[in-house]
Amino acid sequence: MQNTVNFIQFSINDHDYALRTDHVLRVIQSVQISEAPIKEKGILGIINYHGTLIPVMDICNWLKFESTEVRPENFIVIAMVDGKHIAFVVNRIGFIEVDENNISNEIPMIESAEYIEKIITNGADITYLLDIKKLVTQHVEEYANKSQVYKATFKGRR
């Protein structure tokens, strides 16, 4: 019997990316992003998700794309890793069930390879599996340490 893994798929700058469904808390329509107390390159601002303040990362910046304005037709993916929230803005969203044999560890030499954990192939379609843990560990935790507001709210809530 085939082993399959489920992913939430989304597009950023016309490229397909994915996260495992167990990392995604919710996908919402884009909302106004408030200015963060500490301005930092790569952080767009914060959103209030039912009382929990969540930093919204400028995922385009991390993936070496040009940052774009948040528009009403965009979506915000709210992910949770090790009890910490992280959010980022994407375009189209979808759901894919992938045979484990179609998931490869061979990351091509692309500029944003640092944050790509694996590659999912489906015929000619290629989807990059984001290394969300690395994004959180390298950037969000560092940012949280700089801001007492985030430290107070990073306890996580489900």
């Binding site: 408030s34 959103i47 998700y49 009382g51 759901f95 489900r158």
Partner: protein, 168 residues
Amino acid sequence: MSSEFHTLLHQRAVELAKVEALDDLSEEKINLLVFSIGAENYGIELMYVSKTYGLKDLTNVPGMSSRILGIMNARGRVIPVFDLKTIFELTEKSKINFSNIITIEINDIFYGIATENLIGTYTTLKSKIQKNLSSVNEGNQKYIKGISKEDVIILDPLILSTFGQNEK
């Protein structure tokens, strides 16, 4: 960006900031992809959603059933895209501007449905889904699994797959 866009994003941020009561973690939940057509919100279980596309991916084919908006190539397969407003008789009530297509995969059947707005993913308690659909037109009840406590009409993807074949 226009002030209209800013207002819309602000309104959504205000709604998102509202504190919800914590759900009972032991209760069974279902994950939905929620979209709107006209004034109503519809949901389809996320496990059946393959991908979403823009309307530009749709190709119109002359002479097709009025229930089919067109066809599209999704992951190498040519699939029909259904026009749900013909099920729910929405044409007279409001002008519908489709903007997205959700592709569905169930029991090796592939099809798409055109939507006006994609709203996002949503988790709801299975026990709170209302199965009594007496307020829904009898002919349309078969396409609906229930209505969530947030008034999202939950569609049955398997019955919907027969939608294009049922026209007399």
